[in-house]
Amino acid sequence: MPDLGVILKLLFMVVVVMAALLPVITWVERKQSAVMQDRIGANRADILGIRVLGLLHPLADVLKLFGKEDVVPEGANRFMHLLAPVIALVPGIITLAVVPFAGVYDFGSGPVSMVAADVDWGMLYVFAVGSIATYGTVIAGWSSNSNWGLLGSLRGSAQMISYEVTMGLSLVGLFMCFNSLKLQEIAQAQDMTFRVFGFLEAFGFVHALPRWLSFVKLPLWGILLQPLGFILFLTCIMAENKRPPFDVPEGESEIIAGYHMEYSGMRFGLFYTAEFLEIPVIGMIVATLFLGGWTIPWLSTQKIIGGLTGELGVGAATGLCLILHVLSFLLKVIVMIWLQMQIRWTLPRFRYDQVMDLCWKIMLPLSLANVFVTGIAILVVQRLLR
């Protein structure tokens, strides 16, 4: 049965993403484009002359979209046309249920995991939910009774299915390293450090290097264990989001606006929201898998709680640790959002055949090779450690 804790955790995630990050991201998008194009950017929306750096623009956007007429084109399938934006938006929101925003804490009544649905098959859930998002694109284009829309949705469905395959394969190596599909377990596994040159000792080079080198420690993050997996996964999940440079389904120079061409008012706004909502969600998943999630590098949970207990007592120390972990997680998510914005405004749109070639001819073989090499490396390491 759902208890209050689950609802509170879910509410926290939804509020952080929908109310805090989402409006700011649309503003960041505008400012970023302005920086890249040497303009001042959004700064005109005001309430009684107060402009606050243009932060009021998201509000003006929403007011404008709500004021517009909601047009259903002639000959369109009305039910499907109205349903499509909702299908596009929902997967991004329900993915939040399995993302851990902090670790596991004991406040005196047993361990509490800071994730709404702490399921063993967390990443499978993310993949399953993500694969449903394709229908938003497909149905939107088809139901509009427009050729441009249909072309856009054909492109979109082909692109999203192709990249789903590579997205799954690019993470297999990471799952092998952490031996889990549970996002909380993957994050916890990254809450420690490893000695970078420790493997040399296993090979017998104990005294070959300066002594201080053997004490160099790095956090055990996914990006250090799976650098190729990180690049492949980030590329795939950005292609799933259909933002530039992967926005061929809506390529406005060829097919006007593609799958959402016939949408107006807040229904277009829902597609827009879905796209922007996925940016922090992608940031959260990538941060959890590859950047250590909520962990703080070089400071494990035991160290933080142990160090603070003497001054504050166990309860307050645990609470402070929780807050630090949430802040660390949000910082990593913001870094990932920044990276996505940077990529979006740096690279121009790929041609459609380039998008497909990149997926099937370059990334799929690379991800298979990554699985193979990771498997061999794990076997070698296990043999050495024995």
């Binding site: 049965m1 399938n77 499907m80 399921v119 063993d120 098959w121 499978l124 859930y125 993949f127 399953a128 939910v129 993500g130 694969s131 449903i132 394709t134 229908y135 497909v138 149905i139 088809w142 139901s143 249909l150 949705s153 054909l154 469905s157 082909a158 999203m160 299915i161 789903e164 599909l181």
Partner: protein, 167 residues
Amino acid sequence: MSAGAVLFYVFAGMTILASLGMVLNVRNTVASAMSLVVAMISLGAIYVLLDAYLVAAIQIMVYAGAIVVLFLFVVMLLNLRTDVFPVTRSRLPKLLGIAASGWGLFAFLKLLHGTLPAVSPAPEGFGGFRELGKALFTSYVLPFEATSFLLLAAIVGAVILAKRRID
């Protein structure tokens, strides 16, 4: 009634309704395919209620997320209308369908007539990817590998057929 039982009846009802929608929507192929998606997702939910988490995830990922999208892809590409492909009036499929569902009904009634086995709780780790993976790669490794050969043959066949048309 427990929450699990309520959810089971909700999703079972959705599965039946969506399956009927798929069969009865002969005029609108896309609506038919979308009904199939709803049926697949509610089946996935029933798998979750049965603790078969991996099967549930794969049900949604593969069937709802990939295969039906390909159906839709083909439907939209060919732009199927009933005037191009008229609904067949052939008797044989109907007779076969009636025979198959009759047999299914018979088996179901026979099951209801007998006593059902007592339900024991699922063993530790049941339905998870670890247990299923172990079973696939130990007890069922031969069928597993045979399936992969079958799929490879299908891929090669599809590539050859597509390439012949381009050349």
